[in-house]
Symmetry: C4
Subunit: 331 residues, 4 copies
Amino acid sequence: MARTQKQRSGNIDNTGFGANSNAEGGRLVNPDGSINLKKTGFAIWKRISIYHSLLRMKRSHFFLAIMVFYTGVNIIFAAIYFAIGVEHLSGIDQSRSTFDEVMSAFFFSSQTLTTVGYGHVAPTGMLTNIVASTESLLGILAFAVVTGLIYGRFSRPKAYILFSDNMLIAPYKGGKALMLRVATYKNNHLTEVEAQITIALHLNEGGKMVTRFYPATLEIARVNSLALNWTMVHNITEDSPLYQYSLTELTDARMEVMVYIKAFDDHFSNTVQQRTSYTHQQLIYGARYIPMFERSPDGDYTVLELNKISAYEPAELPDTIAVSAAEEAGR
Amino acid sequence: MARTQKQRSGNIDNTGFGANSNAEGGRLVNPDGSINLKKTGFAIWKRISIYHSLLRMKRSHFFLAIMVFYTGVNIIFAAIYFAIGVEHLSGIDQSRSTFDEVMSAFFFSSQTLTTVGYGHVAPTGMLTNIVASTESLLGILAFAVVTGLIYGRFSRPKAYILFSDNMLIAPYKGGKALMLRVATYKNNHLTEVEAQITIALHLNEGGKMVTRFYPATLEIARVNSLALNWTMVHNITEDSPLYQYSLTELTDARMEVMVYIKAFDDHFSNTVQQRTSYTHQQLIYGARYIPMFERSPDGDYTVLELNKISAYEPAELPDTIAVSAAEEAGR
Amino acid sequence: MARTQKQRSGNIDNTGFGANSNAEGGRLVNPDGSINLKKTGFAIWKRISIYHSLLRMKRSHFFLAIMVFYTGVNIIFAAIYFAIGVEHLSGIDQSRSTFDEVMSAFFFSSQTLTTVGYGHVAPTGMLTNIVASTESLLGILAFAVVTGLIYGRFSRPKAYILFSDNMLIAPYKGGKALMLRVATYKNNHLTEVEAQITIALHLNEGGKMVTRFYPATLEIARVNSLALNWTMVHNITEDSPLYQYSLTELTDARMEVMVYIKAFDDHFSNTVQQRTSYTHQQLIYGARYIPMFERSPDGDYTVLELNKISAYEPAELPDTIAVSAAEEAGR
Amino acid sequence: MARTQKQRSGNIDNTGFGANSNAEGGRLVNPDGSINLKKTGFAIWKRISIYHSLLRMKRSHFFLAIMVFYTGVNIIFAAIYFAIGVEHLSGIDQSRSTFDEVMSAFFFSSQTLTTVGYGHVAPTGMLTNIVASTESLLGILAFAVVTGLIYGRFSRPKAYILFSDNMLIAPYKGGKALMLRVATYKNNHLTEVEAQITIALHLNEGGKMVTRFYPATLEIARVNSLALNWTMVHNITEDSPLYQYSLTELTDARMEVMVYIKAFDDHFSNTVQQRTSYTHQQLIYGARYIPMFERSPDGDYTVLELNKISAYEPAELPDTIAVSAAEEAGR
């Protein structure tokens, strides 16, 4: 069949994924843009960048981790001070209970770690002094690490791109097109925005399941500025990898649409990128996006309604669909 | 009319703005380069990057914000210490008034938050110690945040480009040209400087108001180094979107000229960019810029007079204008 | 001989290395990607960037360096305080031994340097106060330096690419090819990955030893994403610098294969690069790589086995080898 | 004359410098790569980036500036504490002299600013407490600034390129060539190194002094890696702006050679650039560079002798010079 022939010729092999469908499991790319992959064979501390894990974790988790670390270190040092003997912490009321003594050691530790050092409790004796001296250095180093982490979290370039939850097959220029919609949701500004869409299809070729990748040509693949929203349009012409595929066929081929956006961000003065991936479950057949921006009531500016990013209305697709369905039925 | 035909064919649709004039309000780009846009539909904390807002606010506002934050946190902790009981702050003279007690708690809080910890007032008792221990951690974290913010403010790449307040229609090569002037106003040095000018016109096409965008070709669109000043020249030839437009027509079309400059900055060793936008109100018809640099008195260096960036003198435009006006009158 | 002629014509002279084999010693590039070079003629502090040395040293060495610095500075200041007289450190029990006094001065110093400042020991007298005031400033500066270093260590863009220990001459498309294998071993993601392979051969040209460099064309020289592993394939065709070379000849020519990879890393939102170099000792003749990824047991994701990066199995090379060997034998 | 004609046609006008020789004074670019320019018309704080000035000043000046700032702030606060009354600093021995009291206030200030806060002297009373509370916040902010500055100084990408002190007219391929030599002098590694050389000549054209700029084509304008040294060679062929110029003519035209190098640095994982400029005084006519690298004694590595960067030996130039001189004499 000529169709398949054409698609074959257009596939690309430089996506970084392999062609052997049986070696790859599930979707290729997760919705957050990460590869659906687990690395093994190396110890976890070699495989994981702790710094970047701390950079990417949720803010609440990050501060919880700091609290846990702070409490943990204080418990350890409290135990050491207690083991050496609280009598070496001048100013502690030793007539009190053991629990009170431990707590005093704990609070002394926290005052040392944060370098508050009130001094109403102070170290005496060689050993306690050495431990306190070490703890205050540790505190300073830990603080340096935390400063670096917090700055790293702040300054990590992010694209802040909002993707529509769905992709549409919409009527377009008398035919149909695959459409996605994106916008930036923060007060940042992306310029020189480039998009790249790759469609993955799992096909049976001569009895063997292979994964084929096709670049999807966009009507506009680069905008000077992501000022408002951007509806990416892949016109399904004869050259399209989706040409004359029915919804059933796309589902059978476990179609996955990988989207990669690269831009220059003026917040960070840096290149930013964001990836996502859509599966056939997110495909809406026969729909069009509802406009998401309008003139402000006073006419002085434009309003972009972010909550409408995925809003669509049904739209009749042209006859070519019917033909395709007919073709399909006729096979 | 052939003219309109030509202009139509030259318009571009990858500016990031839409073509529907009725959906967009006011100017497209603000003088500071930001999009004249408001985003809605998302909660403000999702729409705003607090970090970048703090990075971009005026220096005086930034330090005011820190002062307010510092005072606010101390008030909160003073209230907590007071609620627990100031008798748990050893060293406080409790024979004094409640106001004095509250103030003492406030100052103890500030000594804890900044980790000064003189110790003449010190926490006693479980609860007060826990609060103080937490506050000193908070102080360290807040300090880390402030360090990050201050460094971020310092190191945020900025182009430091000074734009002329006006754009001129000046005589050029027997015809006329649209001119703007830029210079860097700091002791920075931009290399590989690229400029891109886009002209937006709001036109009535078949009864519908549409926004059309035209790239304006520059005589020199890229300079190796922004050493002195740079007068950007768009020659108004037959290929220009402004060809044979009268001032009245440009005003009716609410002409907006968007300027985008990108360069490599040796201060930051980073790519920097700056945008601005001119409206038809800033257009001076029939003028030329006065040179803004000259040899120093001792002849050893060049002097660039930044205050002359917008300085112009009247200049007679060639006949083509008259012709255009005649044409216009004849319509 | 036509073969040599062809290779000569393909060599390049913009590698940054010279062509005079007698002026260069040993391999050109070390396995870690650094140049096998020593710079002389400048004092070491001009030749070495201390900051970058501290950034690149092993983590354990870095923290050891901090410990040594901390102890050293405290010893120096303890000596100063002792020289001035410990009677100027209020709170020190002077009835004790000289050793105890020195240790007290040491601990006071550490409390000043870290700005803990308990205050049970405090400076009195002009001189001691001046020294303590200087030390606390020094402490703050040192801390600033350490914060910068730690952040610099964290945020230094690294590619985290794992290279196979070997390079193979493997059967490929009826002929043979030079193959290397790479993968990322951390949870980072490289996009727009470009590889450049340069082959250096030390040849006798007219009695003079010259070093010739040849770019090795790759079947795929750029992948969109380093998602799984990437086997780089240089097909040994007529245009290859390795065409019809026998293993002996390559060994005689002290073949060195320099690999340079450049990519965009989404951890750092920065360009990263990594280099390495293989010598003829790492060349395996007649082998192919064993696949290193497979579907996970539950079929939901893909598993990449990093420990298999260099795993190969013997593979018979096609006749062209035999021919080449025959040719070689026949000479 | 055909020669001048040719040169005219090759000049470029996108250097960022103007063509009017009478408006520009002295050399165009300083040896350190900065533009020989003074900006006026704006207040100094608008013209100067304090951050970048602090980043670029010599290390010794930087630390001196910190010392001066630290002492200055302490003097101001000491004055304030003294004005309020040292009786509000508990722990100060008030029986002592006024000088001692001022010094005590000074040291208390320094303990507050650095947040050491021993506490043997502590603030009492509303006013003193407010000042101390403000000072400790100021200390923290100042420290944040210093941390940012120190990190900024460390991490500022620099190319660390060493230029030869001279440029040579050397024999080359039977003719002659303009040569410069560069090398990196730190343990950094530049890749994808690009050089751009522009020659400025001040010429009398029709009685008016104009500055003309000519790009100088290099035999190799881009090296993959600045591994050893790089001798940049501009072959003086018919297409060269220097063709058939005598040394006298070049001196009369106040020849200036501007060199711009751009590369990717693996220390900083960033693009770095460095500029310099040579004047005709630095031109050596009839010389060649002495090789500056050699094999190490044990043959295991290469030695690059940085102190030989400018080392040259006299070399006879081919006849074309004589011809040119003859031509010149014949005019």
